[in-house]
Structure formats: structure tokens, C-alpha cells
Assembly symmetry: none
Homo-oligomer: 132 residues x 4
């Protein structure tokens, strides 16, 4: 497992979202988008914990929950790998479902603020380019 993968993680210590949640969400998306494929190894708990200077228990919790959901598999003595059956999460439809909540929330807030639809979409388009 090389360091490259660790760099795929983006952890913000003070952002309201709990660290283990950030890990879970990002692994889920990396798998759904195909950046991580069935059988790929994940960086060890110790590596991630050391790299981000967080408690190993926190990473462990994230991995365990991902295992419970069927996204990861535990390989005795080796570590965690992406589970074999990930077919269901690859389709565009499935991926759109994953971002539906945050899109809906954004839409609600925009409407409550009375921001015109065009302005919202324009801003969104910008951010989509910017976060590439």
C-alpha cells in the first residue's frame, strides 16, 4: 500500500463532521466512482492514524462500519480490502442517489434565502469546476 492512497483522504479536524464519518463518506465515494476497485488494499489503520495524527480507534471505527455495510472486507493479518461485490454502487443512478441529500439541502436553503435558480446553478457550476 503506497502513500498515494492516503492522500486521497481529506480530513478536516474542525469541521463539525466527525472524523470517522469523513473517512466513511470518502471511501464510499472512492469505491462508487471506481477509484477504488474490488480487491484493492486500503492503507492500514496505523498508517492513516499516524499520517493525520488522530486516534487509531477513530480509523478503526470507520473501517469496521464500512465492513458492516459490505463496502470493505477484513483480510486476517493483512488488512482491509475493497469487497468483491461493488457492482451495485457503480451506476450513475446509484451515484446520484448518494449526493441527493446534500443537493436537496442546498436547494432548500437557496429557496429559503430567495436566491434565483439561475444564480444557484451558476455558482454550483463554478464550484464543480473548482473542486476538480
Amino acid at each position: 500500500m503506497d502513500d498515494q492512497l492516503i492522500l486521497l483522504f481529506q480530513i478536516k479536524t474542525s469541521s463539525g463532521v466527525p472524523i470517522y464519518r469523513q473517512i466513511i463518506d470518502q471511501v464510499t465515494r472512492l469505491v462508487a466512482s471506481g477509484h477504488l476497485k474490488a480487491g484493492d488494499e486500503l492503507p492500514s489503520i496505523r498508517r492513516v492514524a499516524g499520517y493525520f495524527e488522530v486516534n487509531p480507534m477513530t480509523i478503526s471505527k470507520a473501517y469496521s462500519l464500512l465492513e458492516a455495510v459490505g463496502v470493505l472486507e477484513r483480510l486476517r493479518g493483512k488488512g482491509m480490502i475493497v469487497a468483491s461485490d461493488q457492482s451495485s454502487t457503480r451506476s450513475l443512478k446509484k451515484r446520484l442517489e448518494l449526493i441527493e441529500p446534500v443537493l436537496r439541502e442546498a436547494a432548500i436553503q437557496a429557496n429559503q434565502l430567495g436566491i434565483p435558480k439561475e444564480s444557484v446553478l451558476q455558482a454550483m457550476a463554478e464550484y464543480l469546476e473548482g473542486s476538480k
Copy 2:
């Protein structure tokens, strides 16, 4: 202070988001969108608490934080009103700043999922209509 205003609040107990946060967010948006103007009275802590059957302290916490941020003002012995200087939150630019975080987050997630820009904007457009 009539009942009309209380109806502007939408509180969902146990939706993850703490009650006092829901109040804060809604008042902020009502002010930013112009539904609440400088000098407008807010429903009293006890009224809101009674109406939604929550503890007065919970509402008090929300109002106090809104005062600390400068959105509300206290009228001793009378109640809370919208603070006089709200010029900074009215412009479209300022309102766009208020939803920037959630839009950015949505953009990041979409890109991590590898969803094409057009699909995201299309979905967003739908939700904007839907939440009106």
C-alpha cells in the same frame, strides 16, 4: 406578536440537527431573505417553547447566540427584535455566501463520485423546483 410568526418556524425534533441550530438557521435566512426586517419582533421565548413543547432554555440559547452574532437585539423587559443593521446580509452576493459552504460540499462529493457536471446541475435544478 401574533401566531403568524411562530408558523414560520419549522422544528423537527430529533433530526440530527439540534433544535437551537434549526432556530438559528431559520431566523438567519428569514432575515437575509427579507421576510424579517429590522425592528420586527420575534415571538417570545415562552411562546415558541410552549408551541413546540420544548424547553424555554433551548429557544433562549438560540436567541442568545443570534444576539451574539448581531442578528437580534434584546429589548429589556420586552423581548427580542431583529437588529437594526442588517444591511450586510441583504444583498444577493451576501446570500450566495451563506449557501456557499453547502454548494461547495455538494460539488466536492459530486466530483469524488465522478458524476458529470450536467447530471449534477440537472438534479439540482429539479430539487430547486421541488423545494419551493
Copy 3:
């Protein structure tokens, strides 16, 4: 009683200090400094309340407390006047005692902030000129 006197009052509705306290403190200082002398009439409760758009009860409370302390006297059907015996509050020593609390508080805060003595005194000197 002319309007001049009303102008001697400075009421800040939103300053933490209760309105009736502001009235009391200012009358006390006006008497101690000799701006108000024994027998002088004070503006009626209605005038003050009307001028500052506050509840007459608030002004009444302040006058009553000043009467209880012996600073004012009630003249049946006429209003309030400065009490006859005010000799004890006129000396410089007595007046210095009146500002001791606020000076001490300022000194404590300055020391906790580690501000050099000279800077504090210089700032104070400025404000003394400015508030004349």
C-alpha cells in the same frame, strides 16, 4: 422645568445597564457636582418618559429610589426636587469615592491585560478631554 435639564440625561437603551440605574447614577452625579442644587425641580416623570420613549414606571422607579436615598424630595402635586441637605456629597473627596469603583475596575482590567501604566493614563487623559 425646561427642556435643558432633560438633555443632561443620557439614556442608552441597549447598554446592559438598566434604564432606571442610568437615571439614578446621573442624577446622583449632577447633584454631587453642583449642577443640580437643593430645591431645583426635576423634569416630570411624564416628560422624561415621553422624551426617551420609555415606560413611565421606569422613571418613577428611579425617582422613588433616589427619594429613598435622600437625594430627592417629593413635593405633593408639584413633582420632585433636589433634597435640601446635599452638603455631604459636594466635597472632592466624596466625589472621588463615587468614581472609585469604576476606576478600580479599569485598573484591574488594564493590569490583567498587561498594559503599561503610562499607556493607560495617556488613554484616560484623552477620554477625559473627549467627554467634556
Copy 4:
């Protein structure tokens, strides 16, 4: 977090000033004067509450407001630390701004009492020595 820090707090129950305000003011000054630096840990809510025999919520309120103002930061599951960006409160100029209100108030009162400038400054100088 050792006991040293708790000793930096001075809480006077029932002195007019609410307990949570006393905490806020003292932390603010400790940070501004450099006694507390960015990253320093604060004594836990439970420790302070236990030490002074006050309700944890009271201390929590103080810490929360200090976080809202940007003086403190939360370390999830660990505690509160002094926020990283405190550059704005360190300079002598900024510290002078912090005591400006109380100095101004003192100046106003002194002038209303007609106390000569020299007497005020002399008294102030004494108190500055006395409160060291």
C-alpha cells in the same frame, strides 16, 4: 491539564456579574495578554465546575460563547484549546481597545462629577499600582 490553570480563574459567586461572564472576560484577557497562547489547553468543563462547585452547564456556556467569538476551539472528544489565530488580540493597540469602554465610562462619570483631570489621573495611577 494541571491545576495551575484553574487557579488563573477567579470566580466570585454573586457579585452581580454572572459566573459565565467572569470566565469569558478572564479568558479573553489571559489570551490577549499572552498568558494563554494558541494551542494551549483549557481545564475541562468538569474540572472547573467541580473546582468552583458550580454547574457544568455554566462553564460550558462560557466556553461555547468563547468559541463562537473565535477565542477558543473545540477538539472533538478531547477538550477546548486556544484558537490558532489570536494575532488580532495581541498588540498593545488591540488591548487598549479592550479597556476603552471602561475607561470611557470612568471619564464620563468623572466629568459629570466635575472632578479635576489631575485628581482622576492620580487616583487611577494609585489603583494601577494597587491591583498589581
